[in-house]
């Protein structure tokens, strides 16, 4: 029996789908370029997998497919970095609601105001040739 997968199916109108890409990382980048926070889910065990890879690292099955995250999560930990010549910024670990964790950075908020357990939502930020998923506080309950 196929388990229910976390997240949602990829949007039908994507111009560039992961299956047309050469490997897990370019597939992830291609989704980000279309403002989709993609992750993989395992058709055998039903669990979310991140970062992108070839096979499920929970159960070992060759059954990963791409899913779309709602881009909402909770801060698991945070550290403020203060460069000498630039504004301070908060590097965070975010637990996405679909059941995986990623590193990111807080935008559109004071770095020092970021707290563990804060709710956040994704913002797609252009950085050179690629798009990075960063997060901003969503004002929800702490």
């Amino acid at each position: 029996m196929t388990p229910d997968l976390p997240g949602t199916a990829l949007p039908a109108d994507l111009t560039d789908t992961p299956t047309s890409q050469g490997g897990p990382h370019p597939a992830y980048q291609a989704l980000l370029a279309q403002d989709v926070l993609g992750f993989q889910a395992c058709g055998a065990c039903g669990r979310a997998v991140f970062s992108p890879r070839e096979r499920c690292s929970h159960c070992g099955a060759d059954a990963l497919s791409w899913r779309a995250s709602a881009g909402r999560g909770t801060i698991y930990s945070t550290s403020v970095i203060t460069p000498r010549d630039k504004p301070a910024y908060a590097v965070v670990l975010v637990d996405l609601d679909e059941g995986y964790r990623m590193m990111s950075r807080i935008v559109d908020a004071e770095a020092a105001s970021v707290r563990i357990d804060d709710r956040v939502e994704v913002r797609f930020v252009a950085a050179g040739d690629e798009v990075l998923p960063m997060f901003t506080p969503d004002g929800g309950p702490r």
């Binding site: 990382h25 930990s77 550290s79 670990l93 964790r101 357990d117």
Partner: protein, 388 residues
């Protein structure tokens, strides 16, 4: 069926040495320091290069470390192991060497490290270059320190650990360093000094972070039979274990519990010992949070209670548990991959050769290495003849 317990007491450390430490100057290479430490360790053991048939090394400065070192030292080993688990590599090498000696694959193992990172670059030299995509670096994380900072922030959140308690670890290390004439930092250090120094990646300041120094170290391990004929009192291998949970910090299952929980439990089981049997503890203190996590995970205090455990000078000279008696990576020496120095100091304490910092009646020492970003954890238990 084979049982790893058969390795208990079957091999012993018979030689240990450091190279010149601190800042050696631009003309001395990492290989020079490694070779210097190797020669001194063999002298300490009463052995020569002709006796060595097993060579173990890891380096961020030269590729194929055992092959490069073999040529430099004039050793043609029949057993070679360049296992790379970051700063824990050298503890891994001890376990592998104990097994290889027991299996007859070599008889005298030389384990070597050297780095001139302070003179060469002034900063941490990474274990190796990575050609795979990073899901952390693009966000501006200052690695490795931000990884440890995230663990520290989570530990503070879950258990109420304070920055003052983190600072206690650095202050204790300085207290021990002041008893070690070759320690890099000898000046007085207070909790306020740590809290008031430059913030690198919150909640960790520059004084919560290890030093950047040059230095090398080497260890000679051989069979217990052969050890008894050599000049130094044998420091027996009692048990060792390796564990890992992740490479990158965003993949670590729980930032407040490391794989030291597994490596420690297995090493104690193999050695037939428990934490209360340990007289000196040498753990890789790349950052102050490491010591708190390892004291908990290795079983010296309960999860979440390490802050109280180290408070009031708990692990400083005169405290209730001697930890990092050489001054550690925080105050004595940190040339990039510190693991070998945990073994050297544990052996010296067990031999009773630690000078002003000697802990009386030391029979059992624990050495623990950390590699990557709380990623690889390796525990080795050592002891003198009285615990065989």
């Amino acid at each position: 069926m084979n049982d790893e317990r058969q390795l208990r007491g079957r091999t012993a450390i018979v030689g240990v040495a450091e190279s010149d430490l601190g800042e050696v100057g631009p003309g001395v290479t990492a290989l020079d320091l490694a070779a210097q430490a190797a020669g001194r360790a063999l002298d300490d053991a009463g052995l020569t290069i002709a006796d060595v048939d097993g060579l173990f090394a890891h380096s961020a400065f030269f590729p194929m470390p055992t092959v490069v070192l073999g040529e430099r030292l004039g050793i043609r080993p029949r057993y070679s192991d360049s296992t790379a688990t970051g700063g824990s590599s050298f503890l891994t090498h001890v376990r592998h060497a104990a097994a290889a000696i027991e299996a007859g694959m070599c008889e005298v193992a030389l384990i070597v490290y050297g780095s001139n990172q302070r003179s060469a670059s002034g900063g941490l030299v990474a274990s190796s270059q990575s050609y795979i995509p990073s899901y952390e670096v693009p966000f501006g994380a200052r690695l490795p320190v931000s990884a440890y900072a995230l663990a520290a922030a989570r530990h503070m959140h879950e258990f109420g650990t304070t920055r003052e308690q983190l600072a206690e670890v650095a202050v204790a290390a300085r207290g021990w360093a002041q008893l070690n004439p070759v320690a890099f930092e000898q000046g007085d250090l207070s909790i306020d000094d740590v809290l008031g120094s430059r913030m690198v990646s919150s909640p960790l300041t520059v004084r919560d972070c290890c030093l950047v120094t040059d230095g090398g170290g080497a260890i000679v391990l051989t069979s217990a039979e052969r050890a008894r004929d050599l000049p130094q009192a044998p420091v027996y291998y009692l048990g060792g274990a390796e564990a890992q949970t992740h490479m990158y910090i965003s993949q670590m299952p729980d930032l407040t519990t490391t794989a030291a929980k597994q490596s420690g439990a297995r090493a104690f089981d193999l050695a037939g010992l428990k934490p209360s049997d340990v007289d000196v503890v040498q753990v890789y203190d790349a950052f102050t949070i490491n010591v708190l996590l390892f004291l908990e995970d290795l079983g010296f205090c309960a999860k979440g209670e390490s802050g109280d455990f180290v408070s009031g000078g708990g692990i400083a000279p005169g405290g209730h548990l001697p930890v990092n008696t050489n001054g550690g990576g925080l105050s004595y020496c940190h040339p990039g991959m510190y693991g070998i120095f945990t073994l050297i100091e544990a052996a010296r304490q067990i031999r009773g050769q630690a000078g002003d910092r000697q802990v009386p009646d030391t029979h059992v020492g624990l050495a623990h290495g950390n590699g990557g970003m709380l990623s690889s954890q390796v525990t080795v238990l050592l002891g003198d003849e009285s615990v065989l």
